[in-house]
């Protein structure tokens, strides 16, 4: 088994509201191994972006904070880094691609200037100009000079996202966080961008945390997957195993609600009800109101049970867990 690159343990993020501090994510744990694409999926408001921001300590301030947890990157706890250390760390070790490329770039500076800043800041390469031309070439701009002198508004969304990818990989980080990298783009452009990202990932052996609401993208590109619902991870494991047979009722509902291009059956199966707001989060299982299988134990918070080669936070699988602790923890290791 390959080495763990990032280890997130019991990460909870809170927002300060009038009513007091509300935890928007609750004990999120996952591992990302070297050289793999890890998919984090969930609907809007489930806490996936907040988790990503927390990894780089980019949470909006004031108002939000990390309540508890550990984020170990190559053994160093990111939460203990000092601000100067953190600045050096961002971009060099972990870089991020945001959803809206036109919002992530400075509209007043030419693209080339912004790429140069990256090198000036990290004092990275001897001849940054050459590196920039080379990387722009690799992300599909045959004429980099024209791009370097363009302002963001002169370029299309797909071109801007290619530039963001170039900026994310140019310092050769170990992990790229891609938060909904293609949501703002058209399908034909989405395919271009995902293929490019995947190609860069494969070539450099970088790990990628792919955050998206689009399960199909994760199915295509990720090796392992974690499904989030209302601030908690409800199921995680190998992507193929998960897609063959999702265990958590929410995962099952999510897959059934997706219209499938390959099937001829036009019926859609919605999940009844709606996603709860953080302020209304139940103390037990948070899917209880929408779950067709809800029963008495669901009033308590479900721990992650290891069943059928993965972790699932649902009491339906309580009895499938190995009785002896040793086996369970071994299984847990395997699934993670």
């Amino acid at each position: 088994m390959s080495n763990t690159l990032l280890h997130v343990e019991d990460l909870s993020v809170g927002f300060r509201l009038d009513q007091g501090t509300v935890a928007v994510t609750d004990s999120v744990s996952f591992d990302i191994y070297e050289g793999e694409v890890f998919g984090l999926a969930g609907e809007s408001g489930c806490g996936k972006t907040i988790t990503a921001l927390a990894l780089l300590r980019l949470l909006p301030k004031p108002g939000s904070m990390i309540l508890s947890g550990k984020i170990l990157f190559k053994g160093t706890d990111i939460l203990t880094l000092t601000l100067p250390q953190l600045r050096d760390f961002r971009g060099r070790e972990i870089s991020m691609i945001f959803q809206e490329p036109s919002a992530a770039l400075n509209p007043l500076l030419p693209v080339g200037k912004q790429m140069h800043e990256l090198f000036e800041y990290h004092r990275a390469a001897d001849r940054p100009a050459e590196r920039i031309r080379e990387i722009l070439n690799r992300v599909g701009f045959p004429d980099p000079d024209r791009i370097l002198n363009s302002y963001p508004h002169e370029l299309s969304g797909g071109m801007l996202q290619r530039i963001m990818i170039a900026m994310a990989v140019v310092l050769r980080p170990s992990l790229i966080i891609a938060d909904e990298p293609t949501t703002a783009l058209d399908v034909t452009v989405q395919a271009q961008i995902m293929e490019l990202l995947y190609e860069m990932q494969q070539a450099a052996g970088t790990s990628v945390l792919l955050i998206t609401h689009n399960l199909c993208l994760i199915a295509q590109y990720a090796k392992r997957i974690a499904i989030m619902y209302a601030g908690r991870i409800v199921e995680s494991g190998e992507c193929g195993v998960f897609l063959d047979k999702p265990l958590h009722p929410y995962s099952q509902g999510l897959l059934r609600a997706l219209p499938d291009l390959r099937s001829d059956d036009p019926t859609l199966f919605p999940i009844p009800g709606q996603v709860p707001q953080p302020i209304d989060y139940a103390s037990g299982c948070r899917f209880i109101d929408r779950c067709p299988h809800a029963f008495a134990p669901c009033k308590n918070k479900p721990p992650l049970f290891s069943a059928q080669n993965r972790l699932v936070a649902c009491y339906l699988y309580e009895n499938e867990t190995h009785s002896d602790d040793h086996g369970a923890s071994e299984n847990r290791e395997k699934a993670l």
């Binding site: 399908v187 395919a191 291009l261 996603v275």
Partner: protein, 322 residues
């Protein structure tokens, strides 16, 4: 009967420039579109952003001034030069918009939002309006006690239900649904689509879905129009379109969608959609088409019948046993 019949419809937006604000060009958002919608039919218009699909939808119901062409609604020809010619048809032709956060007035209660169109079109007596609105809410699966609340108290899915309630209150014959679920989560998307399909069956509606989501199109529609740069490039029954796409653009669209099946990798199409200001000479798709030939660079091909579909391409894709 044909509910909507549009021929050679054009909606161009002038671009003004220079010191005196002269018109220096046009954005050809909709450029020569033929489209029909029959009674109780579900028609989808698909395309990428900027292809003119929303402009087309709004032009059909008179929300945008049409530049040229002809529009017939319920068999009657409209004078497209006057906005008021659509007025008698407003009741029967409703539209629901993409973003339920901006399509409901934040200062009005749900009751006011639902009752305003009823008053304008004299749908029911003043003393019965509240009952009528209650019925509407029940019909879209919301509790009647929501009548006195404001839009900000509802989630996206609930707001979209309110927008649906508002449009069905007038007992329309056609509802144009402009990206009605793209702002919603997957689990809620299916709820809204199923609601619209139920209402369609119950009220005998025709639906026009404007969307970029091909999986959704496949699940719900009878017939599909594929749009690219303001033009219809292919029109076909849903089955034909998905099993044997004829236009290279349709094929590329279908192949670029990721599916849950890990064995099938999406294929990529190079390039970006060109701007509708500088439409390329010849076929609109020639800049990105993998099968482009010299003929394609002359004039845009007329739409013609190939097999069971209609396609605007000089070299449409062919299949065995055609």
């Amino acid at each position: 009967m044909k509910m909507i019949e549009a021929k050679d419809l054009r909606t161009w937006f002038p671009i003004s420039g220079g010191v005196f604000g002269r018109t220096i060009g046009y954005v050809r958002a909709v450029d020569g579109v033929d489209l029909t919608v029959s009674e109780q039919e579900i028609v989808s218009i698909v395309g990428e952003s900027g292809c003119g699909k929303s402009t087309l939808g709004q032009s059909l119901v008179g929300l945008l001034p049409v530049t040229s062409g002809s529009v017939e609604l319920q068999g009657r020809t409209l004078d497209i030069s006057m906005a008021k010619s659509w007025r008698p048809f407003r009741k029967d032709f409703q539209i629901i918009f993409q973003d339920p956060f901006t399509s409901l007035n934040p200062r009005h209660t749900i009751f006011r939002i639902l009752s305003e169109p009823l008053r304008i079109h004299h749908i029911c007596k003043a003393n019965l309006i509240r009952d009528y609105c209650t019925q509407l809410l029940l019909k879209v699966g919301l509790s009647p006690e929501y009548l006195d609340r404001f839009p900000h108290e509802f989630s996206g899915g609930q707001r979209q239900r309110i927008a649906i309630a508002r449009s069905i209150g007038l007992r329309p014959r056609v509802i144009i649904c402009d990206e009605v679920v793209s702002a919603l989560d997957v689990s809620v998307q299916a709820q809204i689509i199923n609601l619209l399909l139920d209402l369609k069956r119950e009220m005998g509606l025709s639906l026009v879905f404007i969307t970029h989501d091909l999986s959704l199109v496949k699940a719900i529609s009878d017939r599909v129009y594929v749009m690219y740069l303001g033009k219809i490039v292919e029109e076909a029954g849903t089955k034909d379109l998905f099993s044997r796409p004829r236009h290279p653009y349709t094929e590329a669209l279908l192949q670029s969608i990721p599916t849950l099946d890990r064995a099938i990798r999406p294929k990529t199409l190079g390039g970006d959609v060109p701007s509708p200001v500088n439409v390329p000479v010849g076929c609109v798709f020639q800049g990105r088409c993998p099968y482009v030939q010299a003929t394609c660079r002359t004039v845009h091909p007329e739409i013609r019948e190939v097999g069971a579909s209609k396609v605007a391409c000089y070299f449409p894709l062919t299949y065995n046993n055609d």
